[in-house]
Symmetry: D2
Subunit: 364 residues, 4 copies
Amino acid sequence: MSSVYGKNIKVSIFGQSHSAGIGVVIDGIPAGEKFDEEKIRKFCARRAPGSNSLGTPRKEADEFEVLSGVTNSKFCGAPFAAVIKNTNVKPGDYSEFSDKPRPGHADYTANIKYNGASDFSGGGHFSGRLTAPLCIAGSVFAGLLEEKGIYIGSHHEKIGGVSDKRFDPAKVTKADFDSLYRGELTVIDKAQHDKMADVIKACAADGDSVGGVIECAVTGLPAGIGEPMFDGLENRIAQAVFAVPGVKGIEFGAGFAAAEMRGSENNDPFIIEDSKIKTQTNNHGGILGGISSGMPLIFRAAMKPTPSIFKEQKTVSISKNEQCTLSIKGRHDPCIAVRALACIESAAAIAVYDALLDYYKTNR
Amino acid sequence: MSSVYGKNIKVSIFGQSHSAGIGVVIDGIPAGEKFDEEKIRKFCARRAPGSNSLGTPRKEADEFEVLSGVTNSKFCGAPFAAVIKNTNVKPGDYSEFSDKPRPGHADYTANIKYNGASDFSGGGHFSGRLTAPLCIAGSVFAGLLEEKGIYIGSHHEKIGGVSDKRFDPAKVTKADFDSLYRGELTVIDKAQHDKMADVIKACAADGDSVGGVIECAVTGLPAGIGEPMFDGLENRIAQAVFAVPGVKGIEFGAGFAAAEMRGSENNDPFIIEDSKIKTQTNNHGGILGGISSGMPLIFRAAMKPTPSIFKEQKTVSISKNEQCTLSIKGRHDPCIAVRALACIESAAAIAVYDALLDYYKTNR
Amino acid sequence: MSSVYGKNIKVSIFGQSHSAGIGVVIDGIPAGEKFDEEKIRKFCARRAPGSNSLGTPRKEADEFEVLSGVTNSKFCGAPFAAVIKNTNVKPGDYSEFSDKPRPGHADYTANIKYNGASDFSGGGHFSGRLTAPLCIAGSVFAGLLEEKGIYIGSHHEKIGGVSDKRFDPAKVTKADFDSLYRGELTVIDKAQHDKMADVIKACAADGDSVGGVIECAVTGLPAGIGEPMFDGLENRIAQAVFAVPGVKGIEFGAGFAAAEMRGSENNDPFIIEDSKIKTQTNNHGGILGGISSGMPLIFRAAMKPTPSIFKEQKTVSISKNEQCTLSIKGRHDPCIAVRALACIESAAAIAVYDALLDYYKTNR
Amino acid sequence: MSSVYGKNIKVSIFGQSHSAGIGVVIDGIPAGEKFDEEKIRKFCARRAPGSNSLGTPRKEADEFEVLSGVTNSKFCGAPFAAVIKNTNVKPGDYSEFSDKPRPGHADYTANIKYNGASDFSGGGHFSGRLTAPLCIAGSVFAGLLEEKGIYIGSHHEKIGGVSDKRFDPAKVTKADFDSLYRGELTVIDKAQHDKMADVIKACAADGDSVGGVIECAVTGLPAGIGEPMFDGLENRIAQAVFAVPGVKGIEFGAGFAAAEMRGSENNDPFIIEDSKIKTQTNNHGGILGGISSGMPLIFRAAMKPTPSIFKEQKTVSISKNEQCTLSIKGRHDPCIAVRALACIESAAAIAVYDALLDYYKTNR
């Protein structure tokens, strides 16, 4: 049941990198909500390969077909199902990895878990390609959230050693999302864009790759969303965000920096502004006790460097039980963080919407 | 359903800080497994208040009573239920916080979420006291894991600005847990112990508090545990760990540092050692594609400083809609990370055991 | 996870017949709802042993203690936990059944399932006693439903071969529940009461037992509650009702009789009455496509005769692998249907409330 | 989340009668199990319209395409997804039912639930057509069960007033399934076949329809499968079987007849036969305390007559709030029980397999 997310909604993602198709089934979208296919396509295009000079030259149109759940341009209450057919498939590239697992990939762990029966082609079920249906789901829920005045935005907070500015945690609004500089990377501080891009190009030139950090904010979220203990906003968002391949860490608000702070620094004083209760600072990242405070929700996700690099690497031959080397060929992004913004936002949208439904159950 | 964890096991935690009792119900423990009450008491004692000079002087024996699930010192298949009666309760300390929310606490968010009906006494449902039943559950599952040769250990990797050594990610074993220096804090490098303790004492002397980072390792976990996408080990552990009050970040393996690495640095080469497949380094923290690799599972959780500090703080009066100040009295730990090791280990034990059962379903 | 029910609420029941205590934890009760302890006690008293001359002479006060979830006589958002201590325990009665399973009981199946580690005393986890916490949960949810004008009632539709009248499926209201004849049994047609009681007494005199059918109605349920496919009202109610020990069948509306009807008989014509859309008849039992129609919800549950009879029975000795006989002693109801009305209503209340929350999620 | 079934497996069904496609996603199939496409097609053909002279003349090939989850003719661990494109669609037939709900159908209840946004064409999400993906899932799990020696069979126990013999509950084996007479209906007693068929033909000639009862048996199921309380075999099977449109009742073993029995009749004595523990009779239908006893699992499902009949019926116009009449045209089965055997078997297969995985978790 690893590919189903949600307590109130159910998002079921299926597919392998090179299977006949990949897709998503979503149960629990309120009937009567508008289905805006064009908006979904635009959202998903941000993730699609081939659209970014810093990414893989592999082109995947990622054209999805809606199979069910929509009538007269509205969600109709039946589960929403959308499928992307896999067309640009090169299965030949991956045959050796079932025996010689690629470092940093799931080849070895999947091999053990699935008793040798897993699909290695293109990374199979573990491929970043599975984030395409995640983004379909994410854009659906992001759209539903927007109708409630809740917006999600993200930027490349770090690529390798180059850092962007951060969102102002206590002030960030949708306007800040609209004014992001959207080049090959998406940044607040345009001056960092080319430095980041240069890092990626340098890595690519070396047949190497590099990691990054994505900062994501959710604005307009009312106070009271999320549950204590296991279903808090942090728990839910973390569960969803770690579904994006390559994420190795997440922090909310001040995050790891809070560990070095004193309470008098980290505590965010409550204030009244425009007759509303807010906090003066936002080290809590909009979440206290698992529940939204009405302040912007802020988190950062650390993404490791693309494991597929073109440098020769050390690995083993499982069949021969001996050491060997491996040279990966093919078309791989030098930095998976580049195209991952839409994926991280999708994870956040799905998690926040699911939490919102919990709120609806008990607050009428 | 915020207080129920697990897909295969169900851990239901209940109670408020000052309600008649707190406790836990666990469904899904295999019948016939030994129930070692003494071991559970020892585990839970690590978390109990009053036992550590760096913690609150408040004493809570945390004596639990087993109501069901055990027959003849064995788990019998029926749900295991254990209750801790609340005896050392001082409800008077908290009355004003329903109107004047404490910065950094869930007073305000709970008030909104529960429409003013929540129990503020002692932090109610949001109290760190609820980690006592979490530790009962954690020790049960840690015990079941130990019988399979899987061990969990943790230490204070950072308190304020003072850092301990880290576990050697590629080599850590149970022996390293056994040789931890266990004073008021638990560290690898005894030389850091007093420095950390001094930081905490200094904060306490100022009526202030401080945060910390806990590093946790799981050794002996075979390869193949965990699921791709939403139920990977990272997703599951994160969902559980964020249930511990005060956790604001989690990272696996190299974590946020991986974001600054190149792939050629971060990728862990596969090697053969003693005829077994391992990785030479362990930046992946024992998890690839959400699935255990057989290497030690390593994660770090960032804990914020205790929000209850004795310095005067700025807050608002909800009823008067005006700014005011607040002085918190009572008995509070100056550093919640001090007693949190058992909680973090518990979250890990529950999550890992739940994942192990997924493995059992499909691998026989 | 066998003892946890609900998609939106979570009802966790624990305990064995003779463990230190039994109880229930409920997560998901809306904060601010009134907690009416007296009403719950009255509801549960209908099920309690010792109160009915047709039942066991065993007396169990079934006094529960609330451990958490309530503040100032209101549900406070934290999980509600209630415990009944087991006091009137006679463990000696059951020792032989681990080797000589009682026909019709779960002794044998539990023995296999739990590898010999299950608690046989008093039927352990399989005891009808576990319906006491079910009734606590049921009365909580029945109370929440009543505040919305939704009422649940039931009667003994059949005991052995004696039949009561049935509810008028198209007309039944709360007033019909209020006018039920409540003697040792609960019936519509008082004339059948003594005939039914005589059947039970005759069986008891023979050291035998007898089965029965309980008819249950839910009135005031608005149209639109329930989900298609797996989470329809029929699915949910059935899942809950089969948790009551001894239930072997359930039917909704015309039920099995519909199988012998023609469509023109079974279809319920839509009509307008007092400007509202209703159906003229109610063979559909208030459910179409899994969703409530606004007509009374009607179902019947068949309960087998109490398996514990005092006649000598044929069984086997597992240890000796040979045929033997068994004579059950102790205090057993001659008809479990007698005290089961509150249990069946509880199952219905829990299931309907859980479905109602699904409705709230998507209809605001 | 109405269209997702399972605690260990996750079966997600999607589609409307006339949407672009319908299908199923299954998570949790053990990797390495053989994928036998031909067997699945044969199983599904039993349900497909157009193949039976007693059914609708509408032909639907129900050709499914596998999108994911299979590699080299084996399940590969990734979710299995299969899609049936809808080709033989006549949307014009249903337009008026959004205003004039068909008696016995979900038109009215879906209209309320989905705020007028539901898809009425062909019954939308409530169409019997959605049992096609249910049968794909069912045949997958029936295949996995067969490899463990567990077989599922069913027959038409009743059509209108004509009854077939029943399976011998204590003796039925796979051989009895193989020797069923499979004509237009499937019966034990060939002599009843034509009488049943005549009832259906007579109804069809009248523009009417008729109901039936399906008896289903599961043989070879070892003792110990199923959980007490809410996840017993009865609970799980009932939850699945009520997903088949038209089912209004279910009973296990003696079922409703047990309500009229004495305990001494209904209790099944344990015996030793071929050194194995069995019961002499099987009124318990192979389930005691929710757990399999090792005896054949037996249940019967009551199906109402097809609600779509060609006789003029009374209904209302929602828009005009007035009484009116309705004449349904189109292609409808006069008896939905005819083609439902594969659906009921599928529900049983899914439920039993899910329960089996619970057993695997705790018994190794």
